[in-house]
């Protein structure tokens, strides 16, 4: 594609222009108050930051910041408690749904969500995930699936695709050694305690908008005490996959989405 660079008009007063731009009425985009000003620890190009923003925006738009308690996991998002401008608890690896249960049961009027990666939720925390879901805990799980352990340096995750390379499956994931990628959202969706299960992604602007709508829906179902809601969000891990951000999003679309198809898996039936 040809890039067109407009000629700069040298007569424009840059300072005056700057002052004009930052006027309140001219601001077209602001960081949500649902996030703090702390710099994110995520790699440039990673989807975590986008999902953080979406959650922050949903909390701001629903005007529920004072009513939300977030549970951070262990993994890349271990520092989530420094990024959300919310009261936050940091759980042990995989235990977020149990911690969230303790919070929700004693603070039933609050919105409680966990933010977990695939290793946290679908490997070490499988038991906590399934049982929180089966009890129909009125919590929301935001599940970031990037098919890899990012924080510890790119090891194989339960969601790593067959033949996908990682530092602990350097020749690719082999079915007869490592088993299959685990679709845990599909697994727990049939449980009667789960009201809403959906898989979204943040690799294109259109998908980002859909993911945000899903997060909002999940919070609304939580308010209606319908049971556990899980929003799985497919995200890239450009560092772990050893790709550029653009390549990784393309790779995700071409490879990950076949195993992890996007869309609602379960929505509440009753009115």
């Amino acid at each position: 594609m040809e890039t067109v660079i407009e000629k700069t008009n040298v007569n424009v007063d840059i300072e005056a222009l700057r002052k004009e731009i930052i006027k309140e009425e001219n601001i077209v985009f602001k960081k949500t108050i649902g996030l703090t000003d702390n710099p994110l620890s995520y790699c440039p190009g990673c989807g975590h930051g986008v999902v953080h923003r979406l959650i922050g925006e949903v909390c701001e738009e629903m005007e529920i910041i004072q009513d939300v308690i977030a549970i951070a996991p262990v993994g890349c998002s271990v520092f989530a408690y420094d990024f959300f401008n919310l009261d936050t608890q940091s759980a042990a690896h995989g235990r977020a749904p149990a911690v969230a249960t303790g919070v929700k049961r004693t603070m039933p009027d609050k919105y409680v969500f966990t933010y977990q990666g695939d290793g946290d939720l679908a490997a070490i925390g499988t038991g906590e995930t399934i049982h929180a879901a089966n009890r129909g805990e009125n919590i929301t799980i935001i599940f970031i699936n990037n098919g890899i352990y990012g924080m510890t340096g790119g090891q194989m995750a339960p969601t790593t695709l067959l033949n996908m390379k990682s530092s602990t499956s350097p020749y690719g994931r082999e079915m007869d050694v490592h088993g299959y990628p685990l679709n845990i959202t599909d697994m727990i969706a049939p449980l009667r305690g789960v009201c809403y299960a959906t898989r979204q992604s943040v690799h294109t602007p259109a998908n980002v908008r859909k993911a945000k709508a899903a997060i909002k829906k999940a919070f609304e179902y939580q308010k209606l005490k319908k049971g556990l809601s899980i929003v799985e969000i497919m995200s890239n891990c450009n560092s772990g996959w050893k790709m550029t951000p653009v390549q990784s999003n393309k790779w995700m679309e071409e490879n990950m989405l076949e195993n992890f198809p996007l869309g609602d898996i379960k929505v509440p039936q009753d009115k």
Binding site: D67, V68, I69, Y81, D87, A92, T101, V103, T106
Partner: protein, 349 residues
């Protein structure tokens, strides 16, 4: 009332907000009693929930405690092992909570009969990292009851997990208990708790991670300073016929009950035997024991283990007098007579 039931009744009456448990012998009556009483609907509004594992239960406690609630769990030895990860996090996050261990014979699945082999785990750590639990050891059903309220009081005073180290005998025995009036559950929550970030304050965070090493060391120093205050202020013990004693038994929990009889039998034979009972196992009442040990001919550490508390006794006594150990394990309960036989044989050496 059974020792385990006393724990459950005390939890309701002291205004506990939540109990999370998992069945394991010999303490399942705690969860059963709470389920039957149904305090959430019928009494104080206390949450009672059977978790899918001991690991989940302690992490539910973490969540509730992080909201400033009075939260507790109970288990027995193998289950307490599973809770060690959570306890380390709770201690690191400086959350108040109460954990009850109605201990049994170990290691492994061990036996379901009473044991005291979890002493090291209780007072020396158990989980990873430099942390301490405040450990209370009841020897009557009344103390089982009383230590629940006391445990929560200490937990909130120091923002630290408190462990009641009981045993299968105290948990299963029946004794009379004086009950206390129902306390209201607290409506005001601590300022540090995660209760939802209101615009008038900064967000509250419960976390245990400090990537910067000096930040972590400073946090550890802060914890150690707190533990020092606990050591200076919270030591509890009981003396029994130590005034004229020439020999002293050191025992806690069920062992101390058995040794009461041993002392009676010894005194009938003219042996001046007394007992020193640590009530707080951590902090261990080492100074008082050190003082006592100056004036006696020998000290006997008597435990239902292969020799754990005896190490703290030896450290406290500092060679003032010989320290001998007598123990039974695996769920075998010693008789007062066999303890006396051991003491007599040691005296005659």
């Amino acid at each position: 009332m059974k020792g385990n039931e006393a724990i459950a009744e005390a939890a309701i009456r002291c205004g506990c907000d939540a109990y999370f448990g998992y069945p394991i012998t010999p303490q399942s009556e705690i969860l059963e009693y709470l389920a039957l009483e149904d305090p959430y609907n019928k009494r104080s509004g206390m949450v009672v929930l059977q978790a899918e594992s001991e690991i989940a239960a302690i992490n539910m406690v973490y969540g509730a405690a992080g909201c400033g609630k009075k939260a507790m769990t109970s288990s027995s030895s193998p289950g307490i092992s599973l809770k060690q990860e959570g306890l380390s996090y709770i201690a690191a996050g400086e959350l108040p909570c109460l954990v009850v261990n109605v201990s049994r014979g170990g290691p492994g699945l061990g036996s379901i009969q009473p044991g005291q082999a979890d002493y090291f785990q209780s007072v020396k750590g158990g989980g990873h990292g430099d942390y301490r639990l405040i450990v209370l050891a009841p020897n009557t059903v009344q103390e089982q009851y009383d230590f629940v309220d006391l445990g929560f009081e200490l937990a909130f005073k120091y923002r630290n997990p408190v462990l009641i180290l009981s045993d299968g005998a105290i948990g299963q025995m029946m004794e009379k208990v004086v009950l206390t009036p129902q306390k209201d559950r607290s409506v005001t929550l601590p300022s540090w708790a995660t209760t939802g970030k209101t615009p008038d304050r900064e967000r509250n965070r419960i976390f245990t991670l400090n990537i910067e090493t000096d930040v972590q060391e400073n946090h550890n120093r802060k914890l150690q300073a707190k533990y020092k205050v606990v050591e200076e202020n919270e030591i509890r013990y009981q003396e029994f016929k130590t005034d004229d004693a020439e020999y002293i038994i050191v025992a806690y929990g069920i062992s101390s009950r058995i040794c009461m009889k041993t002392i009676q039998l010894a005194r009938e034979k003219g042996i001046k035997l007394g007992m020193f009972r640590p009530i707080t196992l951590w902090p261990f009442p080492k100074q008082k024991l050190f003082e006592l040990s100056k004036n006696v001919k020998g000290i006997f550490a008597v435990e239902h283990s292969c020799g754990q508390m005896v190490e703290d006794v030896e450290l406290a006594v500092k060679n003032n007098t010989p320290v001998k150990f007598y123990g039974r394990s695996g769920g075998v309960i010693m008789t007062p007579q066999e303890v006396l036989l051991f003491i007599e044989s040691e005296m005659n050496k």
